[in-house]
Amino acid sequence: MPSELENAMQSLITVFHSYAGKDGKNTLSRRELRELMEHELPNFLKSQKDPAAVDKIMRDLDANGDGQVDFEEFVALVVGLSIACEQCYQAHLKKYAKK
C-alpha cells in the first residue's frame, strides 16, 4: 500500500506525462505547459495579473533553452510553489496558535 508521499510523487510523474506526451515527445512544449497550468494550477494562474505569466514561467523553466521543459525542469516549478504554499501554511498555523 503506497504511502501518502509515494502517492504524491507518483502524481507528479503521471500528471507531467499526461500533458507532456501529447505531441509524441516526453517533454512539455509551451502549449502543453500552458494546458497543464490551466487545468492543474487554475487557482495560481487566476491570481496572476500578468497575462504573459505562462511565458515568463516557461522561459525561466526551460534552463537549456531548447523550447521544451523536461521533468526535472518541471519539478522546479512544483518545488517553488510548494515552498510558497508551505510558508502560507505556517503563517496560518501561527495565526491560530496565537489564539
Binding site: N43, Q48, K56, I57, A63, A84, C85, H92
Partner: protein, 337 residues
C-alpha cells in the same frame, strides 16, 4: 486538502522572486472604513484634537485602507480628509500622518522632489531613495513623478547633480536592471567580478563607467554572487574597494547600492541608528524610513536593528523621540517581537 488550492490563489508570480515582504503594518482585519472615518471625524472635532485616536487608527491601517477611510470621511464630513488633518495636526506628527496618506510611490516621488528643488541639493536623501529602491519601484516613481510635477525625473536629477555622481544616478533612474532569473550564470559572474577588479583596484584611478554599468544593469541576486567572487580577485571586498577608489557623493552612492544589495534592512537599521543618535535635522530621515518601509520590510529592519545594536528599535525610538511623534513611530513599528 483544499488549503493548497487556496494558497495558490494568493501567490503572485515570484519566480526568480520579488523580495519577500516583512511589513510591520498589515491590513486590519474586520476593517470598516465608515467606522474609522467617524472616529477620526470625532477626534478632529474634539477640543484640543484627540491625536491618540488618529494615531491609533491610521498606524494600524495599510495605505489602501487609509484611502478608503479618506473616501468615507469625505462622504460624511463633506471635507477632504487630508486638509482636515493638516489643519488639526502640527509639527512632526503632521508630517508623519500626511506621509501616511500618500501612496508609497507618491511619498518617494515627493521626497525626491524636495531633495532637489530649490537652492542646493539634499544629496544624502536623494542617494538614500534612488539607491535603495528596486527597479520596479523606480519605474513607478518615474511615472508618478511626472504626474505630480509635470517633469521628467531624469531631467531634474541631471539638472541638480554633476559628473560621475550624476551618471550613476541617471543610470539607476533609467531602470535598465535585469530581472532576477532562477538560472545562475557562473561565467558572467566571474567575468563581472574580474571586470570590477580590473576597473578599480587593479589600475591607478578608476574606470567608473564600468562600475556604473555593472552595478546598475545586473540583477541583484547576480550581483550578490559577483561581490562574493570579487573577493577572490581583490584583496579588498567591494565596500572597502569603493572607499579606496572613489570619494564624496559618488562613494556614498556606490556604498548605499552595495549595502542594499547585501542586506537592505541592515542598511536601513544603520541609517536609523545614525539619524537618531545625531541631533535635530535627522528627524526627516527617521520619518522617511519608517513611513516608507512600514508596509515593505520594517519588521525585518527591526530585527536587524536588534541583532546589530543589541537593543530594539522601539526602545531607541522611546529614548530619542518624545510626545506624539514618538507614539506615531511606535505605532508604525508595532510591538517588539
Amino acid at each position: 486538502m483544499a488549503l493548497v488550492a487556496e494558497y495558490l490563489g494568493q501567490l503572485s508570480l515570484s519566480f526568480g522572486a520579488s523580495d519577500p515582504k516583512y511589513p510591520s503594518v498589515v491590513p486590519a482585519l474586520d476593517f470598516d472604513p465608515h467606522r474609522d472615518a467617524a472616529r477620526i471625524e470625532t477626534a478632529i472635532k474634539t477640543k484640543g484634537v484627540d491625536e491618540q485616536t488618529i494615531i491609533d487608527v491610521l498606524t494600524k491601517r495599510t495605505y489602501n485602507q487609509r484611502r478608503e477611510i479618506a473616501f468615507a470621511y469625505e462622504q460624511r464630513a463633506k471635507k477632504d480628509l487630508i486638509s482636515a488633518l493638516k489643519a488639526a495636526l502640527s509639527g512632526s506628527l503632521e508630517t508623519v500622518i500626511l506621509g501616511l496618506m500618500k501612496s508609497p510611490t507618491q511619498y518617494d516621488a515627493t521626497a525626491i522632489r524636495e531633495s532637489i528643488k530649490g537652492l542646493g541639493t539634499d544629496e544624502e536623501s536623494l542617494i538614500e531613495i534612488l539607491c535603495s529602491r528596486s527597479n520596479d519601484e523606480l519605474v513607478e516613481i518615474k511615472k508618478v513623478y511626472k504626474e505630480l510635477f509635470k517633469k521628467e525625473l531624469e531631467k531634474d536629477v541631471a539638472g541638480d547633480t554633476s559628473g560621475n555622481f550624476a551618471k550613476l544616478l541617471l543610470a539607476l533612474v533609467q531602470t535598465k536592471r535585469d530581472d532576477p532569473s532562477s538560472i545562475v550564470d557562473y561565467d558572467k559572474i566571474d567575468t563581472d567580478a574580474r571586470a570590477l577588479y580590473d576597473a578599480g583596484v587593479k589600475i591607478k584611478g578608476t574606470d567608473v563607467p564600468t562600475w556604473i554599468s555593472i552595478m546598475t544593469e545586473r540583477s541583484v541576486p547576480h550581483l550578490q554572487k559577483v561581490f562574493q567572487r570579487y573577493k577572490s580577485y581583490s584583496p579588498y571586498d567591494m565596500q572597502e574597494s569603493i572607499k579606496k577608489e572613489v570619494k564624496g557623493d559618488l562613494q556614498a552612492s556606490f556604498l548605499v547600492l552595495v549595502q542594499c544589495f547585501e542586506n537592505k534592512q541592515l542598511f536601513f537599521a544603520n541609517r536609523l541608528n545614525e539619524a537618531m543618535k545625531s541631533k535635530g535635522a535627522k528627524e526627516k530621515v527617521v520619518t522617511r524610513i519608517i513611513v516608507s518601509r512600514c508596509e515593505v520590510d520594517l519588521k525585518k529592519v527591526c530585527s536587524e536593528y536588534k541583532a546589530h545594536f543589541g537593543q530594539s528599535l522601539q526602545k531607541t525610538i522611546s529614548e530619542h523621540t518624545k510626545g506624539d511623534y514618538q507614539k506615531v513611530l511606535l505605532g508604525l513599528c508595532g510591538p517588539e517581537d
